[in-house]
Symmetry: C2
């Protein structure tokens, strides 16, 4: 039979509320009373049950992270860094794979509603959800525009789009395709294709788009990519939506007899650790994943403390290119 807060209260001759105040450092307690309670806890060898403490303090030190899926290397790496940051600050992390399903996302928000978590980091790709408005001082978003009151941490997608397009032009490409995601989803990633189009226009080149929504199955993505290379291929460069699409393009091109990089040059996006391990030759735009994690954790903990924060935090990206000049 383990001791409870009630045993401490009885032994110390104070109310349960008083013990709770001491435990949670809340409300007025005289120095004398505090000392009495502390001494009694020590005498009884009482360790407060964490759940009881949370129940009383109304703080759990639990944070939830909503991502489409940790299977994706960008989100697997992001999850790792977010958990590491939170652990250093004494928080634990729930992981929620929304699988791009709105109902899943709503279910996880209920954890917040039921006060089982203190705050939420949203890195999911779903359509806008009105529920987010109720939690404006408890949520930070990564790369997703939710509501006006929810701060967002993002990569400089616009700069990334410009860097990728300019690199292909510099290396001799003239007919460049941009593969982008679902344009109905409000994400700063859309800035990449805006930047692409601008750079193409500045260079008096025609621009071309292909949409490959993130939430498609691999096989569906592969079919869209294969269509680009069946028949006569009209492109000599591709700005891909992410590294996986970039690799699909390269594999499909080679299968269809297109020489890479001689006839086709491809630049991906993300630059995760695993992609750089498995495909060190792939040119890509590197997202600052660790910094995205650090900034989102810092901002979330600030708003939970009622501190003012920037609405938008934009972090620089980097071009990693191994493309040589066109022959």
């Amino acid at each position: 039979m383990s001791l409870t807060i009630k045993d401490v209260a009885e032994k110390a001759g104070v109310s349960v509320t008083t013990v709770s105040r001491v435990l949670n450092d809340r409300g007025y307690i005289s120095a004398k009373t505090r000392k009495k309670v502390m001494t009694t806890m020590k005498e009884l060898n009482y360790t407060p049950n964490e759940m009881a403490r949370s129940f009383l303090s109304n703080k759990t030190r639990f944070i939830a992270l909503i991502v489409p899926t940790t299977e994706n290397p960008f989100f697997g790496e992001l999850t790792f860094h977010i958990e590491k940051e939170l652990a250093q600050k004494g928080y634990n992390l729930f992981i929620c794979n929304s699988l791009n399903d709105v109902e899943n996302e709503k279910k996880y928000l209920r954890l917040l509603q039921e006060k089982r978590v203190d705050g939420v980091i949203v890195g999911s790709h779903n359509i806008n959800i009105s529920e987010y408005e109720h939690f404006e001082n408890k949520i930070v978003s990564i790369e997703r525009e939710l509501t006006k009151g929810i701060p967002i941490v993002q990569s400089d997608n616009y700069a990334g789009g410009r860097l990728a397009t300019q690199e292909l032009i510099d290396k001799g490409c003239r007919s460049i395709l941009c593969i982008r995601g679902d344009q109905h989803i409000k994400t700063p990633a859309n800035d990449r294709s805006i930047a692409y189009q601008e750079v193409m226009e500045e260079n008096n080149l025609n621009y071309f788009f292909e949409e490959v929504p993130f939430q498609l199955q691999d096989q569906e993505k592969r079919e869209i990519v294969n269509q680009i290379f069946s028949g006569e291929v009209m492109y000599d460069g591709i700005v891909a939506g992410d590294d996986i699409i970039a690799k699909m393009c390269i594999n499909s091109a080679v299968t269809h007899g297109v020489a890479v990089p001689e006839e086709l040059k491809v630049i991906g996006f993300d630059g995760t650790k695993i992609v750089r391990q498995l495909s060190p030759e792939l040119s890509t735009i590197i997202q600052p994943i660790e910094k995205l994690a650090q900034n989102s954790v810092e901002i979330l903990l600030s708003i939970l403390n009622d501190e003012k924060v920037n609405q938008v935090t934009k972090l620089p990206v980097k071009l990693l290119s191994s493309i040589s000049t066109k022959k």
Copy 2:
């Protein structure tokens, strides 16, 4: 001001304990009393605070998963499937990246001690920790031998080791190196190199080992791999510890002027989705990651319900080979 269990009790004319019993479906309650409480809750439009409910029932429906890091694709994919399985059964998942640090692992076990989680799934690669003994009916392990009382879910590593080695021999290799992990860690993965050695001996071939511990930094792993290919290369086949090591071997071999697959054939281990997306040409042993997740969740929930379970669950692996016969 939100309603509490006390308001319900007062309105229904019963004790707080009675309402708590109804909420948690525990202890004796007459049908009449139960109905009265339920009706009152409905009239008051009372929704029980989840934290209060947990506090009263002593169940959180939270599970923790300890992995080295979700950055690694095997663990990123495993985390995804475990969370999906648990969510379907009404549980939420904490993610704990132990980073192969014993202190980190101990810290996460404290969540269990403090009753903030109901159970733990351990997929970490650390040395044995005596603390695990205290939680024998609350833990399941994936691919790690903890204590005798903790059930383990694993791939058939022995079969995987045999399959990989035999495939290389069948395709003409005679001088095969086996790259394995740290042999001080008790993991069923060690069965792979045992199987490799057996197959080599059965075929009257010499066996060679190289150790590349999982917890090393990429750069350190790459240096060990590069040493294999600096100077005269004595191998025509490699059974690699995982797919990342396999790719490192291939990249290093090519850099050192060794023709792959003509002069060197490599087989990896894991076969994660991302590796198959990025390197579809890589031959590997596919681990049943989704099944590992399903089985570990099922076994954990069974032991939390005091049901009997198998101590060892071994799941079949599959060879994915695109190696053609040696010229």
